[in-house]
Symmetry: D2
Subunit: 392 residues, 4 copies
């Protein structure tokens, strides 16, 4: 019998995504039967005192302050990238060239060019690579994919997807890194829109072939963050002001390769909607609807039912037969946001162990990036439908 392998992980970044990923690396092997052990070997961040403290708190055995040093270490098998999008390409390509496996947070990159380089690098690398569209790992959404894949919805007609948050409604909220093009690439489009683009394509098993878009920045100027806040996600506002260089909201229509049409909206200005990632799919034989704020539920309408008894069913996706759920609690005992990362780690580890390419790949991430670029191009061309290169 072959000895059980252990994957030794090094993670870059330790803010919001870093905490979520740390929990996932720590937890996946406790609930799932994994073919490999997991060692949380090293955490990497620029500030030594901060990364040291974070490593202790999040449970990493060592720390580094330079990601190049992390990649050079022999005792690291996996590099997990949890930094803002502008640094993804550099780290990922270097890690792949060093023979590491790479898990990279979404969006894959801030530009198509970077994403192309990453996908090309992944193509020729010996290590595996995966982009972190964690919402594919919501059991209710994996169930939705399964139902669509089984043909339960028939030919797909409509997708309507929204990702609604409200943390920017206050015009005095400071100009954090997510509001600067140079760091974030885009605004609601890349932050939120990337998720619903990936999700819609994943659910339908179809690519978006063209988009017609409208982007809007509601609040053109904001106070700069107070000096002490650095690039933190939130934090206090200072007295100086700067320009918001990304979109506040992105609206677009889409044509899919298989004949469906879609309507998409991403915004951080929807008062009262905290994390409303919503998607509805209508097919000739049925429909599905989902809202992340109730992420354990999937609404399913089966048009094959007797019309007198048909109706949207609220499937509580907590049964042992639902994706991922046999590892958790009895039916009705719901799970939360962080489980999506635990499932992601499970799938990544399973794929690496089996030698199969994990999904979604960097090529998938690149394709999403091309959709986002087409959205921006359409918006700049006054909304005209712009084709997405390479959609099939």
């Amino acid at each position: 019998m072959a000895p059980r392998r252990t994957l030794r992980v090094g993670m870059v970044g330790y803010a919001f995504m870093g905490a979520a990923h740390s929990h996932a690396w720590r937890t996946a092997g406790r609930f799932f039967d994994l073919p490999s052990g997991i060692e949380m070997t090293a955490l990497c961040g620029r500030s030594e005192p901060q990364v040291r403290q974070a490593a202790a708190r999040l449970g990493w055995s060592s720390h580094e302050t330079d990601w190049r040093a992390l990649i050079e270490r022999d005792d690291i098998d996996v590099v997990d990238i949890c930094t803002p999008g502008d640094s993804h390409a550099g780290i990922a390509i270097a890690a792949l060239e060093a023979g590491k496996h790479v898990l990279c947070e979404k969006p894959l990159a801030n530009s198509v060019a970077e994403a192309e380089a990453m996908a090309a690098s992944a193509e020729k690398a010996t290590g595996h690579s995966m982009v972190g569209f964690n919402y594919r790992r919501v059991p209710a959404l994996a169930l939705a994919r399964r139902l669509i894949g089984q043909g339960r919805l028939g030919e797909i007609r409509h997708v309507r997807a929204q990702y609604l948050q409200d943390w920017l409604t206050d015009p005095l909220f400071p100009l954090v890194w997510r509001l600067r093009r140079e760091n974030a690439g885009s605004g609601a489009l890349g932050d939120l829109g990337a998720h619903i683009v990936d999700l819609a394509q994943y659910l339908l098993g179809q690519h978006i072939e063209s988009v017609g878009a409208l982007l809007k920045t509601f609040v053109a100027e904001r106070p700069l963050p107070a000096a002490s806040s650095g690039l933190s996600a939130a934090g206090a506002a200072g007295t100086d002001r700067g320009r918001v260089t990304v979109d506040d909201a992105a609206l677009f229509t889409a044509r899919f390769t298989g004949g469906a049409i879609g309507i998409f909206e991403a915004t951080r200005f929807a008062s009262g909607r905290k994390n409303a990632m919503r998607v509805e799919v209508n097919g000739a034989r049925g429909s599905l609807a989902f809202d992340f704020e109730s992420m354990n539920e999937l609404a399913f309408y089966d048009a094959a039912e007797d019309p007198d008894q048909a109706g949207f069913r609220r499937i509580l996706a907590t049964e042992p037969g639902h994706p991922y759920m046999d590892a958790w609690w009895p039916p009705g005992h719901i799970i939360g946001y962080e489980h999506t990362f635990t499932h992601e780690v499970r799938d990544f580890v399973m794929a690496v162990a089996s030698g199969e390419a994990p999904s979604p790949s960097f090529a998938d991430g690149l394709q999403v990036q091309r959709v986002l670029a087409a959205v921006e191009a359409s918006a700049h061309a006054n909304g005209v439908q712009v084709p997405v290169p390479g959609s099939v």
Copy 2:
């Protein structure tokens, strides 16, 4: 004291809308204190046996088979037009020229040109005129308008409006009049989209100034209706086939004159959605959401609340202080679809009695028609944003 006037009504058409309007004319004075009495004087339709039977059933005192004859009658004060859109202009203009008051079902007409003629005629007429956007008379939506008018939502950022039905998902459903451009003008766009365009503009108190659109016909050919079915709304399919000449679904983005942006969708292919006219409005200080399938409810988020206690409230719009509701039942005893017409008749009668112009006017109906025309123009121009003439 002036003698109490009685309005003598003649109605043209007696299908779905005719039944709804008949109920409204019969009921309004029983629940509301109206300044005029109402007489259901004559019903008009092309087939004598059918219109005679309909008049008896729906409670009209006499009948006519030619709308010109109806308009010539001295004992008719009001002409209520419930026919398909292609006949609206002819009847309405003749009625106005004959000095009648006119209530005309939506959409005002099948083309901008017709609508312009109607609005011009209304402008110079002595009688009053009104277009039947009945959803303005849903108490929960009238409440929504009141809250927005009071500034409870602050500056408006987003509108997302959908009108989803599913009665065309079956490709064997016959080619009824609503699927022919020459009768219906357009498909989901005019039938359903007109409602949400009017509603969004009414709620915001802003016009749409440009749109970027995508129209789609999913089922290009359908069986012709069986010979016996005529122009009925449903009915059996025959063996011959014909082309669908209207859209099956309409998607569009919109810019409003006040700076808000909107996203709209109208379709009759959303399996499981029976009459889901949904609208959500997000402002800087709050949000509102509505779904016609639960038409007695309005969801309201007040961002001024303590964040620990904030949440979308489900206002059951059945309190005596809610629009129209003091005429009906105790709180929690809900009302239905037909009440929107009863309220419409109430408002029309009140306006006529007071001498004030009823709202929405033919000019309002024309403006909606211009938005619909811009949607079609944009779709033909590959989605580019098309301005709506005359928006202010």
Copy 3:
């Protein structure tokens, strides 16, 4: 061919129930194909000026001030009783003895003795009689009964029924007739509990055989109504105070003849619940749930479904195949509270015309009264289970 009969109706009482019944008599024949015509012949009330005005407004051709005079009239076929419970027995028995058909509002009477006399009178009468448990005519609930009758729920285990309102939470709300035992018989128990007792027995097709109860009066004394308010349902409070002599809330457990158990609650102190008549039934093979505040919806869980796809379906009970709904609007165009009375009138007229006994009968009303009496007996006996006489 036999000449079409016309039923000539005389109604006693014209408050809340009178308005609802008037609408039903006026409307039923417009939407349903009835075998008889309906004439709204006479309205009866004690105050001549008030009843005259009410008759004009509600559409009755004449009026009476003494119900005995109404019953003596030859041109009355049906007596419809919409008065408080203390007068039901007298009017109903006299009307039946005069050969009239009788429709009597619920609860049938204020005491078992009165109800027994009424049921005995109905038994030997030539006219038909029916008690007005209108909630049986909610399409979603008639559908629920159909599904249970088809065995879709298997053996029934549980009923949980609540009727929650909140109009008495304010201790300064005046001591109206519904709060006096001599007029109302009981409090929440008879007003609201009667509905859920009838409904539970109707849905299950089983009788309640014993109950264990707790009654509570939260506010023992209230201001008397201002002199001018009379016995109105609401109205201004005066300065004198009087004792509340009925229950404010009734809680009870129940055993059904078929082995199911139930839990019931009726209250007018549930802040925020306006008309929340809720019932859930759990059987070995499925469950149903209903809330009157969303009266067009029925939730149905089918335990025979694949566990991975099972879930409560929200059936929008607006399809043409649903009880009563082919008379109304297209799917998704919901109906309201008043329709339950229109359906009740339809069923009553159909039964009278066919010569079959309408349902629920006075015997059914008596049985409900016996359950209510057992509830009171149990509460007085400190909650011990008290059998319901005659349950089978």
Copy 4:
């Protein structure tokens, strides 16, 4: 500065509750700033191979096969009891006498006598003790308690609490330990009813002073578990049959010390309800409602609002100001069932470190046990209200 203490934990039992507690001990210090470190020192179970495997999987450093040996170890500060109720008293008392802190799963014991002995032992022990009513640690319910404590609901009138599951509807489900009185003490009553009794008393800050009850066993006999299944929670059925000696469902009414009344239902026969622990509280000034299947939401009705704008708010209890939530994710990113245990461990560790008695205490667990005993006594006395000794 005092050295940071570390709590060394030994846990008894490693089934469902054991997995949940292990996760909590592993996770609490990663998200909350705890004054003590946590060491998962030893896991205890009767079967050596099984407990060894469980310790490895769940992350415990060592294992024991006799709880007495565990208690004797010097390197254990805390004993966490996750076994069936019949062994709680023996382990807890021995652990307390040995000077350990004790966290004991609910229900505290299978009988009042055992619970009294445990509470007496806790009273005189030097270690701290706590009973594991984890649902107090649902953020939405802790928020509910806060709102009631602030008087936002005014005087409390009603509690309606249900705990509905459906895993026993199949009569072929085997006779597992939870269905034997000697192991489980009672059926749905102790398993589920204990939770809602504790929760109702916690939310109201009032004790139940008397109860009137009805217990029912729907399926009197079941197949014994297949020999190999042992006392597992589920597992295959064998061919022999045995008697179910506990209740399948418990219904009861209750009077609270402060004047409120309540209605309770616990069952494992509610088809389609997976973990529907529901509670609604109605007060003179407002109401609250909760359902565990949507455990991140609290519905709140504030009767002080303008009636035109009042309605149940859906508070998404994921804001940083909500109890426990500043440790987790951004608003709208929901948490799950297991977090209740992580919060429980946090509170236990905080209390131990501060020297304050953790809550709920063994005395609180005893009081719940007395309510459950009164429920059983009432059911045996045909439902008569039975007082709960010692309620104040």
